[in-house]
């Protein structure tokens, strides 16, 4: 093989990449059966790319897991399946609908399905015997996420207890756990939304088209532009209009809003985020607005 001599300064995103690769290799070395949560969104897509790079030239030793609420955007699911095929990975899908059909999870009156993901996720972790679950959570997303460790222990009910977190020192990640417990791992904890986009730019990472400005039929609900879909909407008193929009997050369609934007390229998006006065969750997630501690409460139950 040829040996290109290119000394790169270890700066900015490279430091974060090196940290993430170190964490992913620790997971592979410490755990018997690790899984990586992959939804087709930008953060988990970056995680997959990092995992591929961490173990190159061999495939990453992680099973991919997606909890599909049944309200996902079709173009994101298509993208998800493309990535899985392209890198020759294994994907396990847990359909929230199956849990609803079996009566183990109940549809909420407000129709939101994001909070319903917890039971399918925990059942999958237990059923498949995963001892570590890697996620794309970032500490800049939300106040309770800012308190999250990189290796975060979950009890045998899958619960997070913020008051009993382990200290985390240097880059010595402690993955010890008792039978029944598992560890959640967040390799891009220290990345911001902007870092993710800079990395996408630097590495030429492909993302679902939803992230880029396009014209779409949307209706306004609780201050957010939602797309018509199987998640119920528009209602009789909600008017559908065509707008040029893009998504900053691409979670469940029932609670993820589009933002008005002309940003059609990664470079445009980077400029837009630099100037934005809203967080991605503030701009596009209804479920975090339920209460002051909505995310913390869901995380305590086992949500990501």
């Amino acid at each position: 093989m040829s040996a290109p001599t290119k000394e790169r300064a270890v700066t900015g995103v490279s430091v974060l990449e090196a940290e993430a690769i170190h964490i992913l290799r620790e997971v592979a070395g410490e755990f018997d059966k690790p899984a990586l949560l992959f939804s087709g969104g930008k953060d988990s897509t970056v995680l997959v790319h990092l995992a591929v790079r961490a173990f190159a030239p061999l495939p990453p030793p992680f099973t991919l897991v997606h909890v599909d609420t049944g309200h996902n955007f079709p173009e994101v699911l298509e993208f998800r399946d493309d990535i899985v095929a392209r890198f020759g990975l294994q994907l396990h899908v847990a359909e929230v609908q199956d849990w609803i059909d079996r009566g183990e999870v109940e549809e909420r009156p407000d129709g939101l399905r994001n909070p319903l993901q917890t039971a399918p996720l925990l059942d999958t972790i237990t059923g498949q015997g995963f001892d570590a679950v890697i996620g794309g959570g970032r500490r800049d997303e939300e106040r309770s996420r800012a308190k999250e460790r990189i290796f975060s222990i979950r009890d045998d009910f899958g619960r997070w207890d913020p008051r009993r977190q382990r200290v985390e020192l240097w880059n010595l990640y402690n993955g010890m756990h008792k039978p029944g417990e598992h560890v959640r791992v967040f390799p891009i904890s220290n990345w911001t939304e902007l870092d993710v986009w800079r990395y996408v730019d630097e590495r030429g990472i492909e993302l679902p088209p939803l992230y880029f400005a396009h014209e779409r039929e949307v209706y306004l609900r609780d201050g957010m532009w939602l797309t018509a879909g199987p998640w119920g909407g528009p209602g009789d008193d909600e008017e559908t209009v065509a707008k040029t929009v893009r998504y900053r997050t691409v979670g469940d369609g029932s609670c993820t809003g589009a933002v008005e934007s002309d940003a059609a390229t990664v470079a445009d998006i980077i400029e837009e985020i630099k100037a934005s006065r809203l967080t991605e969750r503030g701009a596009g997630r209804a479920d975090d607005k339920i209460s002051e501690a909505a995310m913390e409460d869901r995380k305590r139950e086992g949500y990501f």
Binding site: S2, T5, A9, P57, R143, R163, N174, E292
Partner: protein
């Protein structure tokens, strides 16, 4: 390693306004976005406050907001045109010193707060000693609440002189230590220069943080790489060792020793995510292919054959005890160093730090929660290590509870305790 990323830790005593300072820093650098501000405005109003309580920006847990204190370390991100900051915001209460140690372990710079009315407190001295021991290379003292002493120059300078003298006695150079007069509540000298301190010609806190050199003490110990994972493909006989270069540099042709076994071999390929390279430096993830077919596994340390670390199975080290249950001689624990976890006995406790007097007590009966001391350790597998003072990556370790798996102690190999005890003499325990 040069970087435009600065990892910061903040620490201070209770009620000296740390959350307010962090909130102010985020707010004035426009790192807080309007939906977060709206949430704080709404919460402040619910609590019947006239002005937004900036500390609500950072106290993320329900219990913290209810009790008005910071319980757990939180990580914050903000950026200016010059630099990106990762800030470990740590609690001030004595019982949460473990979180200060946590934040400090990965930080390039520490901001310690003190209330201008109270000056240098025991807790300030204790935090400074922790920073010195962990090798945090730069320290800023935020002399806060100066508005409550009429921005009095003498008050600031008296506190500054006492603090700098104390830092110097702990081994800091004067140019590594800076004191800035400020009021986080009103924003004086945090991001914006204050008109209330015409006698002060130094930088604002943000100016200073943009300028400080982020380098931790460099590791000049030769090449070091703990083996994280073995990449093996039976199909084409490929075998490589994945890890991060934690010190020095590695190139094809270099002789390396596999520790603790002690076998010597040659590196034939240095792989990176972007393909093979002529050399890789500290901080880079690599996959090394070796010339000989050796039994190298996760947990082993690869090191320069001509600059080897010390390999021992019994040694003294400094620990900060982080568990409720005290450490007593005879304890059996697990020791995690690099990528290796090994069984460990604690036959004795040679010394304990009296953190108020910063003096050494000999042969204490135990180390209680948040106490720092010297321990004797015996490990089942000989440990290859450098002194923490020479290289953090190969000089740091954890003690772990073999039953529950919790982390019990932060450990520093070598004579780290002497840093804090050196100039203060000893006393009998």
């Amino acid at each position: 390693m040069t970087s435009d990323l600065l990892r910061l830790v903040t620490a201070g005593s209770v009620d000296d306004g740390k959350s307010t300072l962090v909130g102010r820093l985020l707010y004035d650098t426009k790192s807080v976005l309007s939906d977060q501000i709206d949430a704080v405005l709404a919460s402040s109003e619910e609590r019947g406050l006239d002005d937004p309580d900036l500390s609500l920006l950072v106290d993320g847990l329900r219990a913290e907001r209810e009790q008005g204190i910071t319980i757990d370390v939180a990580y914050r991100y903000f950026a200016t045109a010059k630099r990106t900051f990762v800030l470990a915001d740590t609690p001030g209460h004595v019982q949460y010193l473990r979180n200060t140690v946590t934040g400090a372990s990965t930080s390039d710079h520490a901001v310690l707060l003190t209330d201008a009315r109270k000056g240098v407190l025991p807790q300030t001295r204790r935090h400074l000693a922790v920073m010195a021991m962990l090798g945090v290379p730069g320290i800023t003292l935020a002399v806060n609440k100066l508005d409550l002493v009429d921005f009095d120059r003498d008050t600031h300078e008296k506190i500054r002189d006492e603090f700098v003298a104390h830092a110097v006695s702990l081994g800091y150079d004067e140019d590594q230590v800076t004191a800035i007069p400020m009021s986080a509540l009103t924003g004086d000298n945090v991001v914006t220069r204050s008109e209330n301190t015409p006698w002060y010609d130094g930088p604002t806190l943000l100016d200073h943080l943009e300028r400080v050199t982020p380098d931790r003490r460099g590791c000049d110990v030769g090449f070091r790489m703990p083996v994280q994972y073995v990449l093996r493909s039976d199909g084409n006989d490929y075998r490589a060792y994945a890890g991060q270069v934690v010190a020095g540099r590695v190139s094809p042709g270099d002789e390396v020793v596999v520790l603790p076994a002690g076998t010597v071999t040659t590196v034939t390929e240095v792989g990176t995510p972007d393909g093979p390279v002529d050399s890789a430096d500290e901080g880079q993830p690599v996959t090394l292919v070796l010339a000989d077919d050796l039994a190298v596994t996760r947990g082993d340390l690869l090191a320069s054959a001509d600059r080897r670390p010390s390999v021992q199975d019994e040694f003294d080290a400094t620990v900060c005890w982080l568990a409720e249950e005290p450490l007593r001689p005879g304890a059996k624990v697990l020791l995690r160093h690099g990528t290796r976890t090994t069984q460990c006995r604690v036959p004795g406790l040679p010394a304990r730090l009296d953190e108020q007097e910063l003096a050494i007590q000999r042969d204490p009966e135990e180390l209680a929660l948040n106490e720092i001391g010297q321990v004797r350790l015996q490990v089942a597998d000989a440990l290859p290590f450098d002194d923490y003072a020479d290289c953090v990556a190969t000089g740091a370790f954890l003690l772990i509870d073999p039953k529950g798996g919790d982390t019990l102690a932060a450990g520093l190999l070598g004579d780290a305790l002497s840093v804090v005890g050196a100039d203060r003499g000893e006393q009998d325990g």
